[in-house]
């Protein structure tokens, strides 16, 4: 049942998930145009982009929230068109959303099994297998290095990073082959981000294909194997880690030529133009 059973990082076959020329329009607005990406087992594919670049549309297509309009979406070589998150889950694609991953007031163990609760007994006595649920939650989290003494505490009492980690551990436990993480570090501090990235790496090492959506190239570069850059709904670049440096990635991510323009604009001497105060120390640099 767990992903550990299929621990074969060197998969001879093609990518677990492949998007090719995928487009999506909401009414007249073309939110995503001709985007392609590959997700391989035991690798992290990072999707980078500014706000409004189409990251969330892309994640919704992969997660099955919205079906794509054109292009192909294949899972293990088979073309699919997901109509619901449940269908994507059945294909082994689990998505951890940024802030809707858990139900805060429910105990950790209930959250862990939510939607996939094990039952025992039959007829009217069909009931949750509570002992197994508690014990499994504890061991599954321990495997990721999270030691919760009390799995009965409401998950809302955990820190943001811990909650993300529970959600990741949960996806791995339920046999996800592809893990889609939506901005897992966006709302977190440095230490908590580090914790989440460590679990991303742990999931990768367990043989999962990971899609990491982020606007932070530093986080992406730490764990990523492939980088897809989005800009205004279209692909602005696709790189393997060996082909690109962090500097180049950061530069592309922050807009490349646009950044040059911005640099130029901001470094104009106060004498040349502008309403900017002449004493601005930045301008002399």
């Amino acid at each position: 049942m767990t992903a550990q059973d299929q621990n074969t990082p060197e998969e001879p076959q093609g990518p677990l998930v492949a998007l090719s020329g995928v487009s999506k329009a909401y009414g007249n607005v073309l939110a995503l145009r001709d985007v392609s990406l590959d997700v391989h087992a035991g690798e992290v594919t990072c999707v980078l982009g500014d706000n409004g670049a189409g990251k969330s549309t892309l994640i919704k297509i992969i997660a099955g929230v919205h079906p794509h309009d054109s292009g192909t979406y294949t899972v293990a070589g088979t073309p699919v068109r997901h109509a619901s998150p449940r269908e994507a889950l059945d294909h082994g694609i689990a998505t951890v959303h940024q802030d809707l991953a858990v139900v805060p007031l429910m105990p950790v163990w209930r959250n862990f099994f939510l939607g996939s609760e094990p039952v025992k007994g039959r007829g009217p006595l069909r009931r949750l297998d509570v002992a197994t649920m508690r014990a499994t939650t504890r061991t599954a989290l321990l495997r990721f290095g999270i030691d919760l003494r009390d799995v009965d505490q409401p998950i809302g009492t955990l820190s943001g990073g811990e909650r993300q980690c529970v959600a990741i551990a949960r996806a791995v436990h339920f046999g996800a082959q592809v893990l889609v993480l939506d901005e897992p570090t966006a709302a977190l501090g440095v230490r908590q981000s580090g914790m989440v990235l460590r679990y991303v790496a742990a999931a990768r090492d367990a043989g999962l294909g990971v899609v990491l959506i982020t606007h932070n190239p530093h986080h992406a570069y730490l764990v990523g194997d492939r980088f897809v850059l989005l800009k205004r709904g279209a692909m602005a670049g696709s790189h393997l880690k060996k082909d690109i440096t962090l500097d180049a990635l950061t530069r592309q991510m922050s807009g490349g030529s646009e950044l040059d323009e911005l640099t130029h604009e901001l470094s104009r001497t106060p004498a040349a133009t502008g309403p900017v105060a002449a004493t601005d120390p930045e301008t002399t640099a």
Binding site: L100, A101, L105, L114, G115, S116, D147, P154, T157
Partner: protein, 344 residues
């Protein structure tokens, strides 16, 4: 990195206190004990065994509806039509049997179908339109209270239904919905059994079934629930039909204990159900609460309403007490929830 929780093990007393604080019913139990002691002191007849039956009966009539209303609130929704739906259910049962000169059991069965359909209507309208349940059930509340009066006048000519006490099936229906028996000097109504049975079933469903997990999740964070594959819409429709089912039980009790039904009854009771649920620890925002808590809330209602009578006070004081209890309980619940939600 390995240990995210504190290393020190809590003492037994600490962990007991923590477990208690985590119970939604905590405030309600304290409140129930307080009002019980209060009326035991100020009202002499209150502690007599005979009074217990009266208090429990009053509690059960509210409690039967407070159970599904609590479940619905945990699931994140309201039902303002619950009060008049009880009356609708009784009216349908009575008028169908009378007009068709059918066995009262037929009326009871038809009433069950109609009432369940009303509940399903509420639920389906909610999940289809995605409007707030407050608006939708306010609408059905007004429509039902109008229908109750209008149709009854149209069919019976008056605002109340005809007597059906002499009809076939009435005695057995009465046994099921409105019988009572005496143990010592305590007169116990069958509604108490219905009430306790519902509390047990609802607690089982909430804490030990998948549906229960889904109810908590549907109220606590519907988007998260949907994202992990919980059928949120189906859960909510189910909750509304559960309210309807209990409205049917209450309605049949009304009919078979009084023989006639006043078509204007039930208005305002929906708030008593909600109050019982809230005093019992249900959060207005959903995702938290218990069926046992709703029972304790209903018991507080029973103790207060009858305690005031036994103390020979003006019954006008009742709503004052109820309001004060509601405020105190909500304050306590908010405090508990903050503790639960606050970071470590």
């Amino acid at each position: 990195m390995t240990a995210l929780t504190a290393d020190v093990e809590p003492t037994a007393a600490q962990s007991l206190a923590r477990r208690l604080l985590r119970r939604p019913e905590l405030g309600a139990v304290a409140g129930a004990a307080a009002v019980f002691v209060f009326f035991s002191v100020v009202a002499d007849p209150f502690l007599r065994a005979a009074s217990l039956g009266t208090v429990l009966y009053a509690s059960s009539t509210i409690g039967i509806m407070a159970v599904p209303v609590a479940l619905l609130m945990i699931g994140g929704e309201f039902d303002l039509s619950a009060g008049v739906m009880v009356t609708s259910s009784a009216l349908v049962s009575s008028m169908f049997s009378y007009q068709m000169t059918a066995n009262t059991w037929v009326g009871v069965g038809v009433s069950l179908l109609v009432t369940l359909a009303l509940g399903a209507f509420n639920g389906i309208l909610l999940v289809r339109t995605k409007l707030p349940s407050f608006i939708i059930t306010l609408g059905t509340f007004l429509m039902l209270s109008g229908l109750n009066l209008g149709l009854t006048k149209l069919i019976s000519g008056t605002v109340s239904t005809k007597h059906i006490g002499d009809m076939q099936g009435f005695p057995t229906c009465r046994d099921l919905f409105a019988s009572h028996w005496t143990i010592g000097s305590v007169d116990l109504q069958v509604t108490i059994l219905w009430w306790l049975g519902l509390v047990v079933v609802a607690t089982w469903v909430l804490l030990r079934t998948r549906a229960g997990n889904w109810i908590f999740a549907a109220g606590g964070n519907p988007e998260a629930a949907r994202a992990v594959g919980v059928p949120v819409a189906r859960t909510k429709v189910g909750l509304y039909t559960a309210v309807a089912f209990c409205a049917w039980i209450s309605g049949q009790h009304l009919l078979f204990s009084f023989d006639v039904v006043q078509s204007g009854e039930g208005v305002g009771n929906e708030f008593l159900y909600i109050i019982a649920a809230v005093i019992g620890g249900c959060l207005m925002t959903g995702g938290y609460g218990s069926a046992v808590g709703s029972a304790v809330g209903a018991f507080i209602f029973g103790v207060t309403s009858k305690g005031i009578v036994y103390a020979q006070w003006n019954p006008d004081w009742f709503t004052f007490f109820l309001g004060a209890m509601l405020l105190l309980a909500t304050l306590l619940n908010t405090f508990v929830r903050r503790r639960a939600e606050a970071g470590r």
